[in-house]
């Protein structure tokens, strides 16, 4: 049979021509064209019209200032952003010049080789000095800056004023009181959760770890080590997971919940309290509990203290593959300027990343106050390591919480396992 040698030749040919999987050549473009079309990707929000209006006015001003320059804005759906961004990195020809991205993705995108280092331009930008330090940290990887903060998001404690009044409850001042109050609500009103919590709600659980003096990881600049199994962190995990009980939020229902589920439950009037962000304001306002709730900073361990919140939010960055470097960086600055952020707050309620702009916003809209207070009390951020994206997407922390909640493992065992997984991830990205 003559097939075998032919097949061998064919296989050898394949092996020689393609001995490694394809990779894209995502090197930085050396071109810096001063005219042409700039492509921009922004996230498509629920109720996007007001955002479009603000962006359109920025774009109009930008196009007016730069002759022969056109800006092409595309709004990409948030739930498919991961695929879109991956595709953009894989195929620089179809990639945008400027894009919005979630701040926990910064380090991962830098490692993927997608974002442009704008340290110098950011340093020269007159408005940059007023940027909030945590927001600045969220665009910084290894002391280099890869974008400009667009808005920040923090979480605080939403509670039902009508329920508190009816039961004669005080707003909790410590974490211990928080748990106690939650149980009282559930005991008096079994149809409600006391404080609705979710086993997959990582960013709602983190304040419990931080308030107890724990950390997710320690280290700096690339070499992190997990600290999730430290004694202090374990105390925080215990505090959070003990809320998953029949006298507050039954494990069978709450273990699988994520952040959005808890907000949905609160907005539908099924819970006495919830941990929600400033960005949840619109959703809660649209729910049954409109006018029957208030927000305070999440209490810390000591009376009157505020638990450190996770500083979420989005940034705007320039892609490495852009052929309009100068223009793209300038557009990034325009889109994240004080003026834009102020109008974006009026339009969408996004909290500004500049301390002075935020103060002004809080003066106008009272609901911002507890969130601004939380930000002022000091916020924390996830490890600025590309491993974080992997830790986040492989559900290391939700798995840990769920193992404890469902009684599969104790706090020490589950946190140790999570620490091992985190260290593996930190180690593999080197």
């Amino acid at each position: 049979m003559k097939l075998a040698p032919r097949l061998a030749v064919l296989l050898t040919a394949l092996a020689v021509t393609a001995c490694a999987p394809q990779t894209s050549n995502n090197s930085s473009s050396d071109k810096d064209e001063k005219t042409g079309t700039l492509r921009v990707w922004l996230f498509q929000e629920v109720g996007n019209k007001p955002k479009e209006k603000v962006v359109d006015s920025v774009v109009a001003a930008f196009e007016k200032a730069h002759k022969d320059t056109k800006v092409d804005i595309e709004y990409i759906p948030i739930d498919t952003r991961a695929q879109r961004v991956k595709a953009a990195f894989n195929d620089p020809d179809s990639a945008p010049d400027v894009m919005e991205y979630g701040n926990t993705d910064t380090a991962g995108y830098v490692k993927d080789g997608g974002l442009l280092d704008v340290t110098k331009e950011f340093g020269d930008w007159s408005e940059a000095k007023d940027t909030d330090p945590t927001a600045k940290q969220s665009v910084t990887v290894d002391d280099k800056i890869y974008g400009a903060p667009f808005y920040v998001g923090v979480r605080a404690l939403y509670y039902r004023t009508d329920v508190f009044k009816e039961l004669g409850l005080e707003v909790p001042k410590t974490m211990a009181e928080l748990a106690e109050t939650a149980r009282k609500i559930r005991a008096a009103k079994p149809e409600l959760y006391g404080l609705v919590v979710g086993g997959a709600y990582t960013y709602g659980a983190m304040p419990f770890i931080w308030a107890n003096g724990g950390e997710l990881a320690t280290g700096k600049g690339g070499s992190y080590a997990s600290a999730i199994d430290s004694a202090a962190a374990q105390k925080g995990i215990k505090a959070y997971t003990s809320l998953f009980s029949d006298d507050n939020c039954p494990a069978a229902k709450c273990a699988g919940m994520g952040g959005n589920d808890t907000i949905t439950a609160f907005a539908a009037g099924k819970s006495g309290m919830a941990i929600g962000g400033d960005f949840s304001h619109t959703a809660v306002e649209a729910g049954k509990v409109k006018g029957k709730y208030a927000v305070v900073p999440l209490p810390g361990v000591a009376s009157g203290s505020i638990a450190p919140a996770f500083a979420g939010g989005n940034n705007i960055g320039v892609l490495k593959s852009t052929s309009h470097r100068t223009l793209a960086v300038e557009l990034m600055e325009q889109l994240t300027s004080k003026k834009t952020q102020a109008s974006m707050f009026d339009a969408m309620g996004f909290l500004p990343t500049f301390a002075d702009v935020r103060q002004q916003a809080a003066a106008e809209e009272p609901y911002v106050k507890p969130f601004a207070q939380t930000l002022a009390a000091g916020t924390k951020f996830v490890p600025a390591s590309p491993a974080w994206a992997q830790i986040d997407s492989s559900l290391v922390l939700p798995t840990m919480f769920q193992e404890v909640i469902s009684g599969k493992k104790d706090v020490a065992g589950a946190s140790k396992e999570a620490a091992t997984k985190m260290n593996d991830a930190f180690g593999s990205v080197g």
Partner: protein, 295 residues
């Protein structure tokens, strides 16, 4: 006619279009899958942020050293086995029932089964989940289970998924076996019942042996389908259940490859699955050939 007069490559020429399509659509992706599984290949490599490095069997060592992989493999095998057995039992029982009832109920049963068959897996899973919802589901209300959460416990979650899998895959078994029963000569069955054989006895001693080739085909098809189950687990247990307790191999591979962008590790899982199913398929092909000889 003398076949020797034609050159030996003529059959290959005729086969070429099909071979090219098969090669392009089947072999090349498998080749890529195998290739990727030997490299360190994550998003950073794909988008050119870091160089691709050859890992040898590194991904496989990592995979086989991970206790979760073995746990998931075991769960997959047990779950697939339970699904196959249940699907066959339900499918065969309903096929026999089809031959026993009048035209109108038969038509109704056929239509219901075809409806289940035609329902996309995502839709079916969502509907089943809603039926068993702790707050709004009619099943809990009917059974008086209060707000029992089916997806919380490992076994009850697997059981719920099993119900959906059986629901959407029994029609194939039922229709195939029903067609097989129709082909069995009526006099054989008549003779059996004249001899006083019970319904179960007729199935065991007459129908099942005569339908053996069909049953084998249906079983192996089901094994392959149920081993590869993805949508039902992914939708109904929200990507693998509480703390990953309901992961099966296919979902596990997806979580590794696409959720965490570890394409190389995901490919390694894919290759392992391919090898397991290849072994099953070889058995399947052998049986098919034997069946061909018999007929």
């Amino acid at each position: 006619m003398n076949p020797r007069t034609k050159p030996a490559w003529t059959p290959w020429l005729y086969l070429a279009p099909a071979l090219v399509v098969l090669g392009g659509l089947l072999l090349y992706p498998i080749y890529q899958l195998g290739l990727i599984s030997f490299f360190q290949y994550t998003q950073a490599q794909v988008s050119g942020g870091e160089p691709t490095t050859f890992e040898g069997f590194g991904n496989y060592t990592e995979l086989f050293g991970d206790p979760q992989f073995w746990q998931v493999l075991l769960a997959t095998v047990v779950f697939a086995a339970a699904c196959v057995v249940s699907t066959l039992a339900v499918g065969c029982a309903l096929a026999v029932l089809l031959t026993r009832v009048r035209a109108v109920p038969r038509l109704a049963l056929m239509l219901a089964a075809l409806g289940a068959w035609a329902t996309p897996a995502v839709t079916g899973s969502t509907v089943w989940l809603l039926l068993f919802d702790p707050d709004f589901g009619p099943v809990n209300r009917m059974l008086g289970l209060g707000d029992y959460s089916w997806t919380y416990g490992r076994l009850s979650a697997f059981f719920l998924v099993l119900l959906e899998v059986v629901w959407c895959s029994f029609p194939f078994v039922m229709v195939t076996v029903y067609a097989g029963i129709q082909a069995v000569p009526a006099e054989v069955l008549e003779a059996a019942s004249l001899d006083g054989a019970s319904q179960w006895r007729i199935w065991r001693s007459v129908l099942a042996p005569m339908l053996r080739p069909i049953l084998v085909v249906v079983t192996i098809q089901s094994v392959i389908w149920d081993f590869k189950v993805f949508t039902q687990i992914y939708v109904m247990t929200n990507g693998g259940g509480i703390a990953g307790q309901n992961l099966v191999l296919n979902v596990y591979a997806y979580q590794k490859a696409f959720a965490s962008s570890q394409y190389s590790l995901g490919s390694a899982i894919g290759i392992v699955m391919l090898l397991i199913l290849l072994a099953v398929t070889l058995v399947y092909l052998r049986l098919l050939r034997r069946q061909g000889e018999e007929l």
